[in-house]
């Protein structure tokens, strides 16, 4: 894949990523990752200090699917919409960094910013498709408005 094609392919995958979560199709969210992928939602404070703790940590598709199971079957929370806005990627080899904003809307409440931050990604091509090998969603918004239900 040449650089332009890769840039466009990453944009497309990020659009798919936003659509999967925002529409509630979390099974499609899982399929954007490789089998052994690492997904972290990590406060910037920890990322900057080299501390490993993440607010959400999924190692591999099994843990990603378990997170989906928890959201869909076990966790108790107020229904909400989330909306991901993802910037154009800054691409370097098979790595990229994109900014994100995630808005959250609770029933009959004004829309609020749930988090801003950046995705630090590593991509691989699998069967002609780009997949996430690593996505670290490093978020600036360390004071989470109550809870973080859906993935960033």
């Amino acid at each position: 894949m040449n650089a332009n094609a890769l840039f466009l392919a990453i944009q497309q995958r990020n659009a798919d990523y936003a659509a999967a979560i925002d529409s509630g199709d979390l099974a499609a969210w899982v399929e954007l990752f490789t089998d052994e992928a690492l997904y972290l939602a990590q406060p910037r404070e920890n990322a900057d200090r080299g501390l490993p703790l993440a607010t959400i940590r999924c190692e591999g598709k099994g843990m990603l699917r378990d997170r989906v199971l928890a959201i869909q079957k076990t966790m108790v929370f107020t229904p909400r919409y989330v909306r991901h806005i993802i910037s154009a990627p800054r691409v370097s080899g098979m790595m990229s960094v994109s900014n994100f904003v995630v808005f959250q809307t609770l029933h009959m409440k004004p829309t609020q910013i749930l988090a801003t931050g950046e995705y630090r990604d590593e991509w691989v091509e699998e069967g002609g498709e780009l997949k996430l090998k690593t996505r670290r969603a490093v978020f600036d918004t360390e004071l989470v408005p109550n809870s973080l239900i859906y993935p960033l």
Partner: protein, 208 residues
Amino acid sequence: MQENIKDPYHASLLHVFFITFGLFRADQKSAIEMDEKGRHAVLVSRRNAGGENKEVTKDAGSFKDGLKLEDMRVMDVAHEPWWGEPTVVMQTIFPSVIIQQQINSLSTRQIIPVSPGVFDFVWTHFGFATDDEAMTTRRLRQANLFGPAGYVSGDDGEVIEFSQQGLSAYPEGQCVVKLDGDGTHNTQHMVTETAIRAMYKYHRETIT
């Protein structure tokens, strides 16, 4: 939030994840112990299949049969010698600190008042300098249960918010918690809000 930890019974009713995966049930062998003034409390319990206090929990209905984790590494519990017998110890230190051990996950929670009805909640997870890499990784995986996205504690923030909104409609009202009578004594089970009553008893004697 202190009330949340001092009310162990809610865990069996609310936290589907806890009860379904056998981490915490109100019928486990357990105890609630307080300091002599009822300010600080410790909830101590032992993970097992449950059943030692079956009579008091027969109506707890949050158990969901048939749910399984695909990747059990999140629940890979390794006993550490300093635990002794308990697998969960939740300490509430009046008025604003919680120190918790829940299996291998260790953390503190700090309540920082902001304004009436509003507080910030700061989670700090920790391990020991002597932990090997496997133990650190285990603690990081188990951290999925706690914090604002926690399989368990995510529920608490949400339900406390529901409750606060519900109660705010009745500012002149009073809320009385009388499960297990109205005592403020230590207990050998968790089907009680004795530690909440003891804290407010101390609060009223001291502050009002």
